[in-house]
Amino acid sequence: MITEDVVIRESQGGIIICLDSQGSFPALKQQLSDKLEAFDDLLIGVQVVLDVGQRKLSKKEVHELKNLLLDQGLHLKKLVSRGKNVDLKDNKGQVEVVSMPPARLSQEVGTSEETILIKRTLRSGQRVFFPGNIVVLGDVNPGAEVIAGGNVLVMGSMRGLAHAGALGSEQAVVVAFRLNPTQLRIANHITRAPEGQGSAGNDPEMASIKSGKVIIEDLKL
């Protein structure tokens, strides 16, 4: 991805699209729209941070990019510029534009010791990946996926797919207020909920690996 002109990265609650500083504007537009097309409906309605790097953008070009995103159902939330090269006049405050030193943005995408907090219910078709820990303040519904390099903690019902230690850690755990996943993975171990089993009760449970197997037990605090 890095070698291409358009880099799309997921960040908390939205995506960051980095545009290369070189190349013609029409070529860039084409690449951006191809990329967005490939993501298809996964991204609908998502807030986008556009990182234009050092590129010079005219007011018209900013407008074009905004419309391009809108046609894919995406909203431009922020425009990040590494220089002072974007024509900001007459923008009517519709797009928030910030200038940022080059390093800052990449730091926003976490390293594995970090934890992200997801303050909503994850619904069918939604997928969250994070190299660190994931805490969900809500439910994870059937058809939704939570994949963490570290631990997964769900404050509501875990009914979808949970994968803790997705980068290989067998120490990772999945904890949920109601643990009733369609599938549960820790590192490279996979288990399914036994056929027909409803959520057993209201007690929080924890899944971990013990002697090479995924086991589920009441969470003792």
């Binding site: 409906d41 609908i44 046609d71 069918s124």
Partner: protein, 267 residues
């Protein structure tokens, strides 16, 4: 006057979006409101057929958004009801003939003139869906009491939320009271628990819906229709009235039964 744009959506097809749009549109005008129904199912239009207005179509939504036709010219007035209009979908054009941006402009235009703009959404989550929701203020999600439909509805609510639509209400369609009584149908409580959205109403399975659809007369016109009755009650709720939910005399849902069994087994 500033009305509300409500998109009626579901994910999967055949669960009752068009039926819901036609019945709620008609019922709301019976309550004295001005309503326009917008069919965004380009290529597969059928709201006009359900409303019995097919033979009056001259212009369609694509003619309007591409600028050639005035909105007033394309709107079909339903002569049976004061204040009820239909903007039909195009039958022979590409789905991509309308953009989300154009749809938004259209909805903003319509809500100046109407109390309710009901947008009938096509099946799926592609371009047609994106178009349909782009001008909406709120959404009605239609689901039938089946696991796969609830899964679809859940995905749709997720997409709606991601698009910034947070007032999403649920209509559960095609409930069969006898199956509910036997506990053979997905439990309404469980559906609401998963979807965690407000329940706007429950519509029973009713043969009159099929008969009335074929006649081009929405079921709300038939006072003996149970589904029609349910839709009239839902329309009153949309109109701001407090209307109690009809007792469904449901005994115990399948899931609850399971739950109880397992609780007992694990003791």
């Amino acid at each position: 006057m500033k009305g509300k744009v409500i998109v009626i959506t579901s994910g999967k097809g055949g669960v009752g979006k068009t039926t819901t749009t036609a019945n709620l549109g008609t019922a709301l005008t019976m309550l004295g409101r001005r309503v326009v129904m917008v069919d965004t199912d380009i290529g597969l239009r059928n709201l006009d057929v359900v409303m019995g207005l097919e033979n009056r179509i001259v212009f369609d939504i694509v003619d309007v958004v591409t600028g050639g036709t005035k909105l007033k010219q394309a709107l079909i007035k339903d002569k049976r009801f004061e204040g009820l209009y239909l903007l039909p979908a195009a039958q022979t054009k590409e789905k991509t003939a309308v953009s989300p941006h154009q749809m938004k402009t259209l909805c903003n235009e319509l809500k100046k003139e109407f109390d309710f703009v009901l947008v009938d959404c096509p099946a799926g989550i592609e371009q047609g869906f994106k178009n349909a929701i782009s001008g909406a203020d709120e959404a009605i999600v239609v689901a039938v009491p089946e696991v796969s439909s609830v899964r679809d509805a859940d995905g749709i609510v997720g997409l709606l939320e991601a698009a910034g639509l947070n007032k999403n209400q649920l209509i559960i369609n095609r409930i069969r009271p006898r199956m509910v009584k036997r506990g053979d149908m997905m439990d309404i409580e469980d559906m609401i628990d998963i979807l965690s959205v407000d329940l706007l109403g429950v519509v029973p399975e009713d043969e009159i819906v099929i008969v009335s659809t074929n006649k081009g007369e929405p079921a709300v016109m038939d006072t003996s229709s149970r589904a029609g009755d349910a839709y009239r009650r839902i329309a009153r709720r949309l109109n701001g009235e407090e209307v109690s939910m009809l007792p469904l005399n449901h005994s115990e849902g399948l899931m609850n039964k399971f739950r109880r069994m397992f609780k007992m087994a694990s003791r």
